[in-house]
């Protein structure tokens, strides 16, 4: 019999601990598939900072280190500078990257560090059970914005790709979504592009992926996909901000 589908070697056989309908599982599988396809498992080093991301070291079947909340870009900077032939990526949530770790990502980007960032934007603090994130939408209810996010009280959500696009050190910048199959396939292409870009030493590649957190959004998995498509993608347009130009 011909094998037409199997678990990527870059994933372990551990049973997922992510909640039903959570986007982390989908995105981590895409990363693992890309690493298999590029045949770089044995030279990849992942950085898993605090947030639901941190658990990824249970699921990735290659070298992974923990990082303190928000600090993954600093950790990745050192690893990549010292081991320039390895493939280094950070895997960060929105609280991690756009709140506590804003300085670290902005400066890694400004320095044009040659690693890849997979940024999972689920518009909420997942691991701590649903508080407002820097990316929480106006009107969105969270456990710390019980009446919805009100700009006069809670400020405005941060569009990270738009923010980073002014920095010359970021050379590949794209926002994707996993709200449908074409989106998932485009996300995989973007991850691959970021890794290939890194292999050509071209500077920081950054992929923001709109993702779901049904438990904390208090929606079913399928309603979450719908909400992401109809609400999140309006505020966070899915598009390429900077493209290396693909001779890749």
């Amino acid at each position: 019999m011909k094998v037409i589908y199997q678990k990527p070697e870059s994933l372990t056989s551990d049973i997922t601990t992510y909640c039903p309908g959570c986007g982390h599982g989908i995105i981590q599988k895409l990363i693992a598939e890309v690493i298999d396809e590029l045949d770089i498992r044995e030279k990849t080093i992942g950085i898993a900072p605090v947030g639901c991301a941190v658990l990824s070291y249970n699921f990735f079947n290659f070298d992974v280190t923990e990082a303190a909340h928000g600090r993954a870009p600093a950790v990745a900077t050192a690893i990549k500078r010292l081991l320039p032939t390895r493939i280094v990526f950070t895997y960060q949530g929105d609280g991690d990257l756009a709140a506590i770790g804003t300085a670290e990502i902005v400066h890694a980007a400004a320095r044009g560090e040659n690693f890849s960032v997979i940024f999972v934007n689920n518009a909420v603090y997942g691991m701590t059970k649903g508080q407002m994130a820097p990316t929480t939408l106006v009107g969105q209810k969270t456990t710390t914005t019980p009446d919805g996010r009100i700009p006069q009280m809670h400020g405005f959500p941060i569009r990270v790709c738009e923010l980073l696009s002014s920095l010359d050190g970021v050379t590949y910048l794209e926002r994707t979504t996993i709200s449908d199959i074409p989106g998932i396939l485009a996300t995989k292409r973007a991850i691959k592009k970021a890794f290939l870009w890194q292999m050509e030493n071209k500077g920081l590649g950054f992929v923001e992926i709109l993702s779901t957190c049904p438990v904390n959004w208090k929606k079913s998995p399928s309603d979450s996909m719908k909400w992401m498509k109809e609400t999140m993608e309006k505020y966070y347009p899915v598009r390429v901000f900077k493209d290396p130009g693909t001779n890749l």
Partner: protein, 347 residues
């Protein structure tokens, strides 16, 4: 052997380079700005990596990454910057990663000032960050010693897979002395736990998060075994005229060097007085000090702070009848030998 005129920052940096340091990240702060400046040149020359980070938080996390990748790595700063690093130092301890942190202590609290101080004794010796952990703390009193101790710090860090702090101060950072440079280290311990890609081995992971009930407790017990090994093996101290001294003066770092002059003068005046100087502040030389306390009737602790090491002296003195006095200069005050001598005579 090579002799060089260096200030404390440069002497320490050269110690690191002799020890095979391949990574330095730092952020400017007085009184140790010479450190990153000097390293920006020397890392380049010696095939290492220098990064001026956006903050001390970032510096220490870069050091975390470098250590995770298996390289000898360090940072340097002064008190406010070291406060920012505490989260990272706790993660290093939790993940059992070796790293060297130089603190050129300045006056605090808050922004304080830029003059020499020993006010970070508590922070250095009590862990500093969150969680049950310890860092080895070495307290040099000369440019030669900060050179030698920085070199030693890398070996200790690797040996125990634990962060090591070298606690200098503004005085040592700024003063120039002739330093005998250590030869370059050639053989390094293997690091099979390091992350450099899982080629021909199983994947490695580094973590301090253990959610399964009991696992973190077991991890802490494992760390405890390591810490007690360090307490048994790594105590370092110096004693001058202590063997039968009835009057014991205790001081560390540059303050001890100043105090030594006062003690010597008092001895010349006929006082039966000695100086005890802890070199490792953790592990603290409790039992060694306790031995010297057997003859002591009076103890004077001299520090450039409001009295921090004195807590450890009191622990060492629990079976002693000696009366314990303190003389301190906080907030960047540096005592001179005269005033310490007067203080010795007063008690």
């Amino acid at each position: 052997m090579k002799l060089k005129l260096l200030n404390g920052c440069e002497a320490s940096a050269e110690g690191a380079i002799s020890a095979g340091c391949k990574f330095y990240a730092g952020y400017p702060i007085t009184p140790q700005n010479r450190y990153p400046e000097y390293m920006s040149e020397r890392m380049e020359e010696t095939g290492g990596i220098f990064i001026q980070a956006e903050s001390e938080t970032s510096s220490i996390n870069m050091v975390f990454g470098a250590a995770a990748a298996g390289f000898r790595a360090m940072t340097s700063s002064s008190s406010p910057g070291i406060s920012l690093m505490q989260e990272g130092i706790s993660y290093l301890a939790g993940c059992e990663l070796p790293a060297v942190i130089i603190n050129m202590n300045r006056g605090g609290p808050g922004l304080g000032d830029v003059t020499p101080s020993q006010s970070d004794y508590f922070q250095s010796t009590r862990g500093g960050g969150h969680g049950d952990y310890r860092t080895i703390v070495l307290a040099p009193w000369s440019c030669q010693e900060i050179h030698d101790f920085t070199y030693l710090a890398f070996d200790l860090a690797d040996k125990y897979r634990n962060p090591v702090v070298v606690l200098g101060d503004g005085l040592i950072a700024q003063m120039y002395e002739t330093v005998r440079l250590k030869p370059k280290k050639k053989r390094f311990p293997k690091k099979p736990w390091a992350l450099d890609g899982c080629s021909r081995r199983k994947p490695n992971s580094l973590k301090s998060l253990f959610l399964t009930p009991g696992v973190l407790e077991a991890h802490n017990w494992k760390l405890a075994v390591k810490f007690s090994k360090i307490e048994k093996r790594e105590v370092r101290y110096e004693s001058y005229y202590c063997s039968d001294a009835e009057y014991l003066v205790i001081s560390f770092g540059t303050c001890a060097r100043i105090t030594k002059e006062a003690v010597e003068r008092a001895r010349q005046q006929g006082l039966n007085i000695g100086l005890f100087r802890p070199v490792t502040l953790w592990p603290f030389p409790y039992s060694q000090l306790a031995d010297y306390m057997k003859n002591a009737k009076k103890i004077l602790v001299v520090e450039m702070n409001l009295g921090q090491m004195i807590d450890d002296v009191k622990i060492a003195a629990r079976n002693s009848d000696a009366r314990i006095f303190f003389y301190g200069r906080p907030g960047g005050g540096v005592p001179n030998p005269d005033e310490i001598y007067k203080e010795i005579k007063k008690k």
